[in-house]
Every structure is written in structure tokens, then in C-alpha cells.
């Protein structure tokens, strides 16, 4: 959702508080000052996960804080994608590979199954990524492909739409 609030100290925190109050989970906060000093308000975009039926409750709480909601994006479930990686996963720093996705802020690795056969033989892993949108998922997969190329890993993607 896109919010508009007064550009004053403490306002952002005030806007975020109600989200946890209704049991929501903040995934990303994007906050840009595009036209400095043009207005006294601040535009903030928040990506969040919310239990079903709590949206009205949240909007009411935000209004009480003097925050107006400019736009609410499509309500949708998080995107999930499972891939398989093959190669020297441990020797090429698996946690760095995972971090490359988590660092995006809009996609994260939520599952990993690793099979390591004999020492020095390539290992295989199934990795589950969740993201906020299809575009963010495509971006996360692009990042993973880049990392895989650097580390000589094979990435097996699902056939989309299958």
C-alpha cells in the first residue's frame, strides 16, 4: 500500500505500529523523497502480509494516526518458486548464495533441502523462494542465475505455467 504522512520525526514509526497491532508482517518499506521541500508530506510504500479480514481494522488505526492511505495494491498471496541447484554448494558459500536473494528485501529463501553425497562430489539442493510479486520473483531468479554462473552451479528452474 502507498501511504501519505506528515514529514515529521516519529511519523513513520507511528504508521508502522498499527500493522503489528493487527497481526501483520512487514516485508518491505520503500520511502523516497522525490520532490524535496515541495510538500510537507512524505510518501511511503509498504509491502505487508496481513491475516485475512484485518485490512479494515488497519485502515481505521492508520486514519487515527493522521496517515492517509493513497493506494492499496492488489491483495494476493505471496509468490512461491522452487528450484534445484547442483554443484559445489558448500565450498562456494551456500549462505552467501542464500543471502543474495534475502538481500533484495522483496524476496527471501524460505526453504532449503540439501543432499551431500561423497566428499568432493557435487551436492544438490532444493531451494524455495517466496516473493511479493511475480516481477520480484523474476528478479530474484535472475540474481540467483547470476550467482550460479559465478560459482559454476547449475540452476534448474521450474517450467513456468506447468
Amino acid at each position: 500500500m502507498k501511504l501519505e504522512m506528515k514529514d515529521r520525526p516519529g511519523q513513520l514509526v507511528a504508521a508502522l505500529k498499527p500493522i503489528s497491532a493487527v497481526g501483520g508482517n512487514i516485508i518491505a518499506v520503500i520511502h523516497q523523497r522525490e520532490t524535496p521541500a515541495a510538500t510537507e508530506t512524505l510518501d511511503v510504500q509498504i509491502v505487508l502480509e496481513l491475516p485475512e479480514g484485518r485490512l479494515d481494522n488497519l485502515l481505521e488505526l492508520l486514519r487515527e494516526q493522521g496517515v492517509s492511505v493513497v493506494r492499496i495494491g492488489e491483495e494476493r498471496l505471496l509468490y512461491e518458486c522452487t528450484l534445484i541447484m547442483i554443484g559445489h554448494l558448500m565450498h562456494t558459500d551456500l549462505s552467501d548464495t542464500v543471502d543474495s536473494i534475502d538481500r533484495t528485501g522483496s524476496a527471501e529463501v524460505t526453504g532449503l533441502s540439501l543432499v551431500m553425497p561423497a566428499i568432493n562430489a557435487p551436492s544438490s539442493a532444493r531451494i524455495t523462494i517466496r516473493s511479493t510479486t511475480r516481477t520480484e520473483m523474476a528478479k530474484a531468479i535472475r540474481i540467483l542465475r547470476g550467482v550460479a554462473e559465478q560459482k559454476s552451479l547449475l540452476i534448474i528452474e521450474p517450467l513456468e505455467g506447468a
Partner: protein, 328 residues
């Protein structure tokens, strides 16, 4: 209808046997293998030529070259079924040019000339008022080119994806079913004659990539070369990876994919649900075409084999006879 047949390997012998076995009213007036040729306007004795070939000899006279057959024999259609050369497409490309310039139709199973020089060959065929047909270049017996150009005429194809290489599909099927390593499954495929001594062309996805280029250029109006295909083979796959896919009711197949709108041309191993129609067993090929009017269609069939590939060639020949060739 009179044809000149170039190539007496697996496909050429399949065509010769089909002509002998079925009353198709096709007369072979020119015949050549890599070492010899025969020209006989009255019709060549195919049974005798096959027997000479089976005995390990040349099919005809060493004094007659394939080029002689193409340039001098009296025929309606050149049937070019020699092995694919992906670098230069020769000598097949030169033979096709000669035949088209002579006003002869051309039917081929040879991927090289169609992948490398389709626009030129098509222009040459049009200029001479003859047909150029190549159904057998993609997925053997499956009438994919006819299916798309005739059956789906008027549709816009948004995506085409499939299993284009039987060798890889056999290897992956066996790895998934028996937990074999890639090397073990490849050795088995070799023993059964499904893989060549040098399997690079198949297992690195080159064969599948060439088929994508052919489809892209001939039926999807793209202008692609082999270098435009993003390509990953199956040589690094592990039995563990197949098992990880299996845990989720999925498997891994080498999938060729074209998305014309996005310019995507890609051959790579992909995770795919086991219940998906593209998950075919053994050496089968399967292709799903996503069309705006018709919806999704999946073609499944034998992608290789002597008689199976001959089926596609014979289909092209009879198509041409229906529409063009007069008289005998």
C-alpha cells in the same frame, strides 16, 4: 511421382522400404549414398539397391556422384535425407539449391540447411514455383510443422515448449526411475543405440536448440540463429536432484522453449510436475503449443527412428503431389 533420394542411412532406408511396402505410386529415378549413385529414368530397383547397401557395399555406381544425381536425373522432388552438418549445412545445402533452381521440389529431414539457410531456400523455392518441405527435421514422426502451419493457421502462438531430444529424455527417465547416475544412464542409452559414441550433440542440448531455431524461423516468423538459443545440457544432473524433484511430485526434463513475444529461445533442464503432459517416458518427444484461438495442444510421438522419420518425409511428398505434381 518421381523422386531422387539422397542418403541411404537410417531415414533413407526407411523411405525406400516404405515405398517398396506400400503402393504409394512413387518412383525413384535417382539414388545416391555418400560414395555412389544411380540414375535410371525407368525406375531404380530399390530392393536390389538396399541389398547391396546391407552387404556393406555402395548402393550404386562409384562413377555417379550425389551431385550428378541432383543435376542430371529426371525427377519431380529431391528427397534429401543425408546427415546434418550444423556448421556449413554442406553438401546438402548446395544440392538443394541446384534442385530448386532446376524447378524441383525439395523434401528434407536434414536440419543443417533449414536451420542455417531457410530464408534463402524459401525465396529460391518461391522464385521457382516449387515447394520446400521439412517436416522430418523436427520431432521425427510428429506432424508439428503441418500442425502449426495448416491446422493452427490463423492462430497466434504465444509459447511453444517441449521435449525435443529423445536421447536426453531416455537418460532422464532412467535416472528418475532407477536412481542411476548420468554416466550409468548414458552407458545404457549407448548400449540400446539411443546415444551416439560422442553424445555431445544430444546431451549438451545442441540438437534441441537446432530444432528451436528451425521452428522459430519457419513457423514463428523469428530470425534466430543457434547462438541466440540460451542452452544448458543435462551432463551435470545428479540422481539426488531428480529425487529432490520427486519429493514434490515433480521430475526434471530437458525442455526447449520459445516465447516469440519475449524473444526467448531456451534449452535447459526444468522442474516439471509428473502429471504434466510433457512428461513422456523413454525416447518419446512431446511439444505443447499455446495458441490464442485453439488453446493449448500437446503433440506426443516418436522423435526418431527409420520408419517413423520416413513417415514425415512421405507425408511431405504426398502433400506436394496433392497440390502440385502432374502426371506420373
Amino acid at each position: 511421382m518421381r523422386i531422387a533420394l539422397l542418403g541411404l542411412g537410417s531415414v533413407g532406408r526407411g523411405i525406400a522400404r516404405t515405398i517398396l511396402a506400400k503402393n504409394l505410386d512413387i518412383t525413384v529415378t535417382g539414388l545416391a549414398d555418400s560414395r555412389s549413385g544411380i540414375i535410371d529414368a525407368g525406375g531404380i530397383d530399390l530392393l536390389a539397391a538396399l541389398a547391396r547397401k546391407e552387404a556393406g557395399g555402395p548402393c550404386g555406381s562409384p562413377g555417379v556422384s550425389p551431385a550428378d544425381v541432383v543435376a542430371k536425373a529426371d525427377y519431380d522432388v529431391l528427397v534429401e535425407v543425408t546427415p546434418t552438418n550444423v556448421k556449413t549445412a554442406e553438401p546438402a545445402l548446395g544440392h538443394m539449391r541446384t534442385a530448386l533452381r532446376r524447378g524441383k521440389h525439395v523434401v528434407t529431414s536434414n536440419k543443417g540447411p533449414i536451420a542455417l539457410a531457410y530464408p534463402e531456400l524459401r525465396a529460391l523455392a518461391e522464385a521457382n514455383g516449387v515447394f520446400l518441405k521439412y517436416e522430418a527435421t523436427v520431432c521425427g514422426a510428429i506432424p508439428l510443422i503441418h500442425g502449426i502451419t495448416e491446422g493452427l493457421a490463423g492462430n497466434t502462438i504465444s509459447r511453444l515448449s517441449g521435449v525435443f531430444n529423445g536421447t536426453c529424455n531416455y537418460i532422464l527417465t532412467r535416472m528418475a526411475a532407477e536412481g542411476l547416475t548420468y554416466e550409468q544412464a548414458l552407458a545404457e542409452a549407448r548400449e540400446l543405440g539411443y546415444a551416439e559414441a560422442d553424445p555431445t550433440y544430444d546431451v549438451e542440448g545442441i540438437d534441441a536448440a537446432i530444432k528451436l531455431v528451425i521452428l522459430a524461423n519457419t513457423v514463428l516468423d523469428m530470425h534466430a540463429t543457434l547462438d541466440d538459443v540460451e542452452r544448458t545440457g543435462i551432463t551435470l544432473l545428479t540422481p539426488d536432484a531428480l529425487e529432490l524433484a520427486e519429493d514434490q511430485d515433480c521430475t526434471i526434463r530437458l525442455i526447449g522453449e520459445i516465447i516469440p513475444g519475449a524473444g526467448v529461445l531456451r534449452v535447459s533442464p526444468r522442474i516439471i510436475p509428473k502429471a504434466h503432459p510433457l512428461v513422456v517416458e523413454g525416447t518419446l518427444n512431446a511439444v505443447t503449443v499455446e495458441a490464442d484461438l485453439a488453446g493449448d495442444l500437446t503433440f506426443i510421438g516418436k522423435g526418431a527412428g527409420s520408419i517413423e522419420t520416413a513417415s514425415a518425409v512421405i507425408g511431405d511428398l504426398l502433400y506436394i503431389r496433392e497440390r502440385h505434381v502432374q502426371g506420373s
